[in-house]
Symmetry: C2
Subunit: 335 residues, 2 copies
Amino acid sequence: MKVIDLERSRKATAVAPSNIAFTKCWGKKDEILRLPENGSISMCLSNLLTTTTVEFSPKYTRDEVIINGGGVEEGEAQRVIKHLDRVRKMAKISLKAKVVSKNNFPIGTGLSSSASGFAALTLATSKAAGLDLSEKELSILTRQGSGSACRSIPGGFVEWLDGDTSETSYAVSIFPPDHWAICDVVAIVSEGKKEVPTSVGHKAAKSSPFMSIRLSHMKEKDKLVKQLIKEKNFKSLGELAEAEALELHAIMLTQYPPLIYWTPGTLKIMKLVSHWRAEGIPVYFTINTGQDIHLICEQKNVKKVVNKIKSIKEVKEIIVNNPGEGTRLSQNHLS
Amino acid sequence: MKVIDLERSRKATAVAPSNIAFTKCWGKKDEILRLPENGSISMCLSNLLTTTTVEFSPKYTRDEVIINGGGVEEGEAQRVIKHLDRVRKMAKISLKAKVVSKNNFPIGTGLSSSASGFAALTLATSKAAGLDLSEKELSILTRQGSGSACRSIPGGFVEWLDGDTSETSYAVSIFPPDHWAICDVVAIVSEGKKEVPTSVGHKAAKSSPFMSIRLSHMKEKDKLVKQLIKEKNFKSLGELAEAEALELHAIMLTQYPPLIYWTPGTLKIMKLVSHWRAEGIPVYFTINTGQDIHLICEQKNVKKVVNKIKSIKEVKEIIVNNPGEGTRLSQNHLS
């Protein structure tokens, strides 16, 4: 990594991918440290990206956060500022910062914009503050801002290790992006934000009577997913990912209060996917804590999948993703 | 009950209600006897009715089944004929029969047409065969044709007792129809039959990792529902019924293969219900193993609920039900 000369510059820009989890994390062992109840396995997404520029400067009298060209809600700004504070503490600086962030996809709809957002924020902030953190340190720091964001630091296929402490709960790459030519075709079915943010829903995970059973089989599931990715066993990975998404949503539906993240468009596509398989297209869905739906297929079948979804009236946008690189620095500063 | 004179007539007609369960039955202890995994509590529905005429006669050389003016699929006809056989065996007769049945609502969409169907069939067949069965005997016999149909024999608010044998698994009225002025406003969101019949889904219930947890708390849930009906505690009954419907669907979503019964229209209304509550209308949903949605409210709020759903484009028909009578004989024979 390039060392930034603090005398000349306190500005840095990072680009980070969102990621799609094959095994999901839901519920937390530690709310403050954002330690999840279980490990999880994901893939970085080549075309769902957040670019963030952070500038520390004596000219700023307060921290300023601009996302997608506009201001942000108080709670959201506070979460970003708290993350800046973590970095300032590590770097022993007190300068205020300007954060400018842009997503190339909708936020708050189940595309894990907080994953790419906090991954980019962490790298840009730490670099601008003059720190030169390792991938592990970046992943740990990112996790404290937004749990699953730690999976967006390393590239390709990623495991978020099931650690019980802050030092052991971070993500590592298990295979590089070019290990396996599979795709995540994202169908955006809504531009509205979800009614309940993920961070609120997490806290009530244990109110589902089924949560303890879920936790008891997650280690085994993670192990199996790693094996299936290693073997490039598409059918079994697809089946497992789809069942895991349904299990996640079954937990959320049985929480108190229940969380119903799907929209009619999500459900329409979920039901169509099995028909498409019956027609001979190997495609499986997965869904995060939101409404947009991820269609997992091999690269050779992307066109067929895109053709199927582009005629569905609820689909507002389609984004095709390959396994992507992790979070990296960029020379193109946002202002 | 009137005794039929077998020398003059072997024809009888019965009218039976569908029922809506506040606690659902899913999975079976005994597949052949249709003994469910747990007890359940329901309400008979005044306006979802099946009328069935059964005529035993030497003029018939084979059993004939006509539903809603047409023939039925082979499997469905066999299920009816098997039920005729049960009655023939009890009555020690061998005559063939003509069965003519009409529903005033769509079948196979989650409105429990097999409940009203088998309840009406049981009473009409047993009467036509010259039997004069007690309510308990009718409920036990009905259950063998279609499990939850046994809850449509007694009237009003009904409990299907959690029996471990055929003789102890039947339904009883716990409160008469006029006990409580609550309504089930049914929103029919589809006229297509569900892709997987309930009877197929039942068999895979135990493949859900969550089924054992569900079964461990059903007795307590049934006890609570009875108490809430007794106390006429609408809010708590509504909350419990809604959570129970979500739990049922969480089980089905996590079965192998998963069952996704909701349609976009179902989900749209599910999500609107909590908004209507926020606007001050006390209304809760419940859903059977199908796509149509049942909105439970007090009679004084029926107009408000109907007004909300009649403008939703996916709603094809609205049927308002009071707590209804059980299965009864009719003088108006279908032919």
